[in-house]
């Protein structure tokens, strides 16, 4: 199918306002939220903006007829290249399917289209007394569809879990264009848990056109506490003691000295400028419980050497303490023209050693690295500062990033806690998975999408999924690509 026929046929499906195909319109869709240079970019043949499931289905069928790959896209805030059309083809941008279709306070569910913005869903359910728990830092922009694709986390997943724990069912367009529901309201669906397979599958299995999500009742009381410590080690000890005491806070976030220096002058969140680490603890629940837990946490922090403990109970005070954490990335502009936001995860108690290693890597590669992280679940976000226009900086960023990954895997961690693999880390996947492990995962891909129409060149090492790979019989394929690892 030539380009003009393709555009004509797409226009028949979604109308002229629903198709972008001029180079100037396509440029923005070559990227996702990653820093330029860290993740490959690619230009799609066309971008479509459907408004109904039927249109999505028709686009998928057309793409198949034309032999073109399909890449689903939400707000494009992803950081692993998941929404970039690596092999060209058709991008299905779901941002115009942005309606909250139903909020049911008795069932405690919401039925939403994939383009609904994460924060807007919680705002819509607030009057009913509920919220949607996954809260990635991009929640003002990112979409539920994207959250499903990446199995997004956020600061509050320590207590409330990640996206997969909050998805009950999905309406999906499968690679043959068929529309099907997986999961649903009732908890007794027969067969394999395809909902779980879909969540976090990075757009490789299907295009989500509706999501039935679980809503969580708003807690009766919420308190945010800030503890300032001289060192990251002291703050980490406090975290260990808090968890050891049987407390699971709603969030447990830490920032290092460099982050505090970037954030405080700009946002005046009240973090002491001379602190080596700031620990943000949010607790929620029954009022009486929260009050006793507050006292317990304050005592633990002081025993661990906190130079200051502040307790915020009103919304304004809480928001101010959170502001510094939430704006940490934005504040990096004070320190450096560019930053690379890394995402890795280690067993929680390995955090202090991992941060020490990150410090060494910073020296070795002559790059400043600031650290903000989810201290409760071992999820690190080293912010590698650099200047894109300085020769060799991007290469050093990628080199240091790989070193950090190496260390995290060595201490029992994983490649990504919440950003996904995409193209960013696909060639590192053999650091954690053997050829056999990958073959099992390829089995899931093959069951849904045997000819690899959906989001090709993602997650699996480059070239791995070309053609049909028979799962668990993929050794020959793996050998061909030199995947032995292990």
């Amino acid at each position: 199918m030539d380009q003009s026929t393709l555009i004509e046929r797409l226009t028949q499906i979604v109308g002229p306002a629903g198709v972008f195909h001029r180079p100037s319109d396509l440029i923005v869709y070559e990227y996702d939220g990653s820093v330029d240079g860290a993740v490959e970019t690619a230009r799609p043949a066309a971008v479509t903006l459907p408004t109904t499931t039927e249109q999505v289905s028709a686009i998928v069928k057309l793409a198949r007829q034309a032999g073109l790959p399909v890449v689903a896209r939400g707000a494009g805030t992803g950081l692993s290249g998941g929404a970039v059309a690596q092999q060209g083809g058709i991008i299905i941008a779901l941002t115009r399917m942005d309606k909250v279709l139903d909020i049911d306070p008795i069932d405690r569910t919401a039925l939403v289209e994939p383009g609904v913005i994460n924060l807007e869903l919680s705002e819509a359910t607030l009057p009913f007394g509920f919220f949607f728990a996954p809260d990635p830092s991009s929640q003002r922009a990112c979409t539920i569809g994207g959250n499903v694709a990446e199995n997004s986390g956020g600061p509050h997943c320590l207590k409330y879990g990640v996206t997969t724990n909050h998805i009950l069912g999905l309406e999906v367009v499968l690679p043959d264009g068929r529309v099907a529901w997986v999961g649903g309201h009732a908890h007794g669906n027969a067969g394999y848990d395809l909902t779980a397979a879909m969540v976090g599958s990075e757009g490789l299995l299907g295009v989500v056109t509706k999501a039935l999500v679980r809503l969580t009742p708003n807690p009766e009381a919420t308190t945010v506490m800030l503890g300032a410590f001289a060192t990251v080690e002291e703050a980490s000890t406090a975290v260990t003691r808090i968890i050891g005491a049987g407390i699971i806070p709603a969030a447990l976030e830490m920032m290092d000295a460099l982050t505090i220096k970037a954030v405080e002058p700009q946002y005046h969140a009240g973090y002491p400028m001379d602190a080596g680490a700031a620990l943000l603890v949010e607790i929620d629940g029954i009022t009486e419980d929260v009050r006793s837990t507050e006292e317990e946490i304050e005592r633990i922090c002081r025993e661990c050497g906190a130079t200051m403990v502040r307790i915020a109970t009103t919304k304004a005070e809480r928001d101010l303490l959170w502001k510094g954490r939430k704006m940490a990335l934005a504040a990096m502009g004070r320190l450096s023209p560019n930053y690379y936001l890394h995402d890795t995860v280690v067993p929680r108690t390995k955090l202090p050693a991992t941060l020490a290693r990150v410090g060494e890597i910073s020296t070795e590669f002559r790059l400043d690295i600031a650290n903000v992280f989810h201290a409760g679940d071992g999820n690190l976000h080293p912010l590698i500062l650099f200047d894109r226009h300085k020769a060799g900086d991007v290469e050093r960023v990628l080199g240091s990033s790989k070193e950090i990954l190496n260390y995290c895997v060595e201490v029992g961690g994983a490649l990504s806690g919440e950003h996904g693999i995409g193209t960013e880390k696909r060639d590192y996947i053999t650091m954690v998975f053997t050829a056999d492990d990958l073959a099992a995962m390829a089995g899931v891909k093959n069951a849904f999408d045997p000819t690899s129409y959906f989001n090709p060149d993602k997650f699996f090492p480059k070239g791995y999924m070309c053609g049909e790979v028979r799962a668990l019989r993929a050794q020959a394929m793996a050998q061909k690509h030199g995947i032995y690892a292990f």
Binding site: D104, V182, H187, N189, G191, D193, A439, A447, F459, R470
Partner: protein
């Protein structure tokens, strides 16, 4: 074969009346994979066996040529209390895990019938959840990593030992509840949780179902966040049981609040008694059967759940069954029942009962029933719309249909 057969005394348990002619208990995961690969080559059907507490679950198998026991693949791989993580071999019993975690004030807060026999692998393969699923995490939420042996002769892993991880497809939850049809689970990793410092259960009794339903709604709308909430049929009417956990003072405070919300005669079941009360409750709905009882779970949208439980109670009466356990989980919409049907027409009346339930529920799963009663029906209920994808998944993992052929949904 790298594994030792049991001595003649160690007879394999029967699966729906079929006693496997061969029974192996390999001592390592590779041994399981070798048996599976050998079976694939010889076109034999294999049934994995853990603690044999839920063998009644599933359709009557097409064939069982051999069984593999996980009893020699057991023990703790690692436990890091301050990381809140645990890794165990699949043959480890749930009881062993509980005893390991308890001294550190932690647990896997799950409802497990017969914990001293039930194994981690079996619990994951069957994927059943009890009353706690309404307000507390389930296996689905706590499973962070897994490894399984496949008929290709390989042992593969997914997930890891960190509590937050998006590295790779989520095979943990794909295997969960797949009844061993994609692979034999050999080890599993969990996020563990600190247990509540105190607990209590408040039970109110009602003459009418509608009154219990209204009370359940009041509890759900209050500030109380029960870990379990069940409306159950009793000899004299209906009861509402509310289980709460937390700090001692809070539990005390909330117990009083719940009693007020119940607006009826109620009793408080204190900490230790509460645990054993729910354990008994969980075992009443375990996937087990004698010659005359069935366990079913019917599900509906939560807002329609009270209609479903009312219909089921009526159908039990109409078919002259005896409801030994009939309970609805408000907020989840599912009704679970153990019903006994006696005398010569028992099987027909059970079939009639099931036929009556199907149209009023979204789905009806028969968790356990005498083998003869199950033949000819799909115990998993309605065939899912995506059965072709599920079959394709099975084809990818087990093309020769070695693992539990016919026992899973849609005859997979």
């Amino acid at each position: 074969m790298a594994s030792t057969p049991f001595s003649p005394a160690g007879l394999a348990p029967a699966i729906d009346g079929i006693t496997p002619p061969d029974y192996f208990a390999p001592t390592d995961p590779k041994g399981i994979a070798e048996i599976l690969a050998g079976a694939a080559e010889a076109r034999k059907a294999v049934t994995p066996v853990g603690g044999a507490t839920s063998l009644a679950l599933g359709n009557v198998p097409e064939r069982v040529d051999l069984a593999v026991s996980l009893r020699h693949i057991s023990g703790i791989i690692s436990y890091e209390p301050t990381d809140l993580t645990l890794s165990v071999w699949a043959g480890t019993t749930f009881g062993e895990v509980t005893h390991l975690l308890a001294p550190r004030g932690q647990s896997l807060p799950l409802d497990v019938p017969f914990p001293e026999q039930a194994t981690i692998g079996g619990l994951i393969a069957t994927g059943l959840a009890g009353p706690r699923r309404s307000g507390s995490p389930t296996f689905r939420d706590l499973l962070i990593g897994i490894s399984a042996a496949h008929p290709s002769g390989t042992v593969t892993k997914a997930g890891g030992m960190v509590v937050k991880n998006v590295t790779g497809f989520d095979l943990m939850r794909v295997y969960l509840g797949s009844l061993g049809t994609l692979g034999v689970i050999v080890s599993a990793n969990f996020k563990v949780l600190p247990f509540g410092r105190a607990e209590a259960t408040v039970q109110g009794s009602y003459a009418e179902l509608s009154l219990a339903v209204a009370a359940a709604e009041r509890v759900r709308e209050s500030r109380v966040r029960p870990v379990a909430l069940e409306v159950s049929k009793t000899d004299s009417g209906w009861s509402l049981a509310t289980r709460i956990e937390g700090r001692e003072l809070t539990v005390k405070l909330l117990t009083d609040e719940i009693q007020t919300l119940l607006e009826t005669h109620s009793e408080i079941i204190g900490s230790e008694e509460s645990k054993s009360w729910w354990q008994q409750f969980t075992e009443a709905e375990a996937a087990t059967t004698n010659d005359s009882d069935v366990v079913i779970r019917a599900s509906a949208r939560p807002r329609l759940g009270h209609e479903l439980v009312a219909s089921l109670a009526r159908f039990v009466d109409e078919q002259a069954g005896i409801a030994e356990h009939l309970t609805w989980s408000p907020g989840l919409g599912s009704t679970t029942a153990r019903i006994s049907f006696k005398d010569s027409s028992a099987a027909q009346r059970f079939r009639k009962f099931r036929d009556q339930c199907m149209p009023v529920a979204d789905n009806v799963t028969v968790l356990a029933a005498p083998s003869e009663w199950k033949s000819g029906i799909d115990v998993w209920g309605s065939t899912p719309a995506t059965i072709d994808v599920m079959r394709a998944l099975k084809e990818q993992f087990d093309p020769n249909r070695v693992l539990n052929p016919g026992r899973f949904a849609g005859g997979i």
